[in-house]
């Protein structure tokens, strides 16, 4: 039963992620991305990490990809009929090779026998948060700082300097709301 569920959702994850890369319509690609994230969340649950599964759906499928869709619809992107250039294919090939190499490295380093199953303590909410706030506190804080820098950078980049002819700050009011909204979502990622 568990194997069957794994096979179904692993196949869906692989298939839908292919659609993300191949499909010409950005909306279809984005929706396939949601399907991919959802199936990966199911795989997390099967591995005994329901917390990670729920977070995967809540943050990625429920917030970040919605933003992708928001931007696609705001810009009204249509099907891209631009031919894929040779150079793009080359870059993609190099990326795929690097990725396969990394996966290979993981298999090579861990050996042929199956890795030991994750302990209950590791995937539990308590274990995860205890590790995050004790052993890995410094990396955790650094990531937080990095996100803060990204938020400030996005705010600065998105805020246009007031034009001399316009009414200064007041003409920017609706715009400002939009900026605040954008950057907070960045923070959640």
């Amino acid at each position: 039963m568990e194997k069957l569920i794994f096979l179904i959702f692993a196949a869906v994850a692989v298939g839908s992620s292919l659609v993300v890369v191949i499909h010409k319509s950005p909306v279809y690609a984005t929706m396939s991305l949601v399907l991919t994230l959802f199936s990966v969340a199911v795989l997390f649950v099967l591995l005994g990490a329901p917390f990670l599964g729920a977070l995967q759906i809540l943050i990625y499928a429920g917030a970040i990809v919605v933003l992708f869709l928001f931007v696609i619809m705001l810009l009204n992107l249509q099907k891209s009929d631009a031919e894929r250039s040779r150079g793009g294919l080359g870059v993609a090939a190099v990326g795929a090779l690097i990725f396969l190499g990394m996966i290979g490295l993981v298999f090579w380093r861990t050996g042929r026998e199956a890795p030991p199953p994750l302990t209950e303590d590791f995937v539990s909410l308590k274990g995860l948060s205890a590790a995050l706030f004790s052993d890995y506190l410094l990396p955790f804080e650094i990531v937080g700082l990095l996100l803060l820098v990204a938020v400030i950078g996005a705010t600065v980049a998105a805020r246009k300097a007031p034009q001399p002819g316009e009414g200064g700050a007041s003409s920017l009011l609706p715009r400002e709301d939009f900026v605040v909204e954008e950057t907070h979502k960045e923070a959640r990622s």
């Binding site: 909306v27 329901p50 977070l55 809540l58 429920g62 928001f70 619809m73 605040v180 909204e181 959640r188």
Partner: protein, 338 residues
């Protein structure tokens, strides 16, 4: 069949029976209540007091022509109403509706899915509801629908943050994501809305925005967008959106009463066995009904926000308030007051 699966199916059937009936009942309540508020009779022709109006409406939905616009994106257009129903009928699986029941020597927790991630699962599933609105808006190939869809995506994400943070504050003193533990905590102490009144207010306002109800119904604002994301939908597909909206409201109301008003429990009442289960379910349904009445009351009392007011309220008022609430509750928990 495996008794475990059988019990789960039975529990799902009970909750499904409650939540599927929300939309037809609310159809009648909403129309009669708004008529009362606006000093007019409302639908009173079909059956006594117009009580059979939902049946007539259902028949109408079934026999109306199902129109698909020629320029619509067919696949996404057909998918959107189904996606709307999916989170609506899955989120209530984590709502507990009674004390543990012992049947034939087995202890059955009266919640469809007694999972550790509890509230997180609810928030995760309900956050997927936005896709149906966005896709409906995009696939209809209609300006009004598109604007409705864009508004829905921005609005739902903005208010989800405040909602999640106010839910998080409830979990702090309980030390658990399980709603059953939260109910047990409130039985032992007081209902959460007393110590966490700030969090409750944030949750209440955010839940109006999350369910697209007035004063936050900008994705479907009739006076400016006709009907927003579902302008092009007719017949059963429109009914699916209608059903999903009311089921989402009821599910969020169920979460709200479980977090802040003791869920299925009543202070001073400690029944067990089948009687406890029935009383628990009836109590939960009654509390949800009160919340639905508040939803209707607010809808026909307040005018709609402007879009920039909506964004300002979400990001500059509710989000800071919910963070303040989180800090306050954390401090109170550390001090041992909760």
């Amino acid at each position: 069949m495996n008794p475990e699966i059988l019990a789960t199916l039975a529990k799902y059937a009970v909750m499904f029976g409650v939540f599927i009936n929300v939309a037809p009942i609310m159809n009648w309540v909403e129309r009669r209540a708004c008529a009362y508020i606006q000093d007019r009779p409302g639908p009173n022709r079909v059956g006594p007091l117009g009580l059979f109006q939902p049946l007539a409406d259902a028949a109408k939905f079934m026999f109306k022509e199902d129109v698909t616009p020629a320029a619509a994106d067919k696949l996404l257009y057909l998918m959107a109403p189904v996606l709307a129903l999916l989170p609506a009928f899955t989120t209530f699986v984590i709502i507990p509706f009674g004390p543990d029941l012992t049947v034939a020597g087995r202890t059955i927790p009266l919640v469809v899915a007694p999972v550790d991630t509890g509230v997180l699962l609810f928030l995760a599933l309900s956050s997927l509801a936005v896709y149906s609105l966005v896709l409906a808006g995009y696939a209809s190939n209609n300006k009004f629908s598109l604007i409705g869809g864009i508004r829905a995506s921005a609005q739902l994400i903005s208010y989800e943050l405040a909602l999640t943070l106010s839910v998080l504050a409830v979990l702090l003193p309980v030390n658990s994501f399980r709603l059953a533990d939260i109910v047990a905590y409130q039985q032992a102490h007081v209902w959460n809305f007393i110590p966490q009144v700030l969090g409750f207010v944030v949750f209440l306002i955010a839940s109006f925005a999350e369910t697209n109800r007035l004063p936050f119904d900008l994705p479907e604002a009739e006076s400016e967008l006709i009907a927003g994301f579902h302008t092009e939908y007719s017949a059963m597909r429109f009914a699916a959106f209608f059903q999903a909206e009311y089921t989402n409201m009821a599910a969020l109301a169920a979460l709200g009463v479980t977090l802040f008003f003791g869920g299925w429990s009543l202070p001073g009442v400690h029944l067990t066995g089948w009687l406890g289960a029935v009383v628990g379910l009836v109590t939960l349904v009654a509390k949800i009904a009160v919340c639905m009445a508040v939803f209707v009351w607010v809808r026909w009392t307040f005018p709609r926000f402007r879009y920039d007011q909506l964004m300002r309220l979400g990001w500059k008022v509710l989000l800071p308030l919910s963070i303040l609430n989180l800090i306050l509750v954390a401090a109170m928990t550390l001090a041992g007051w909760l």
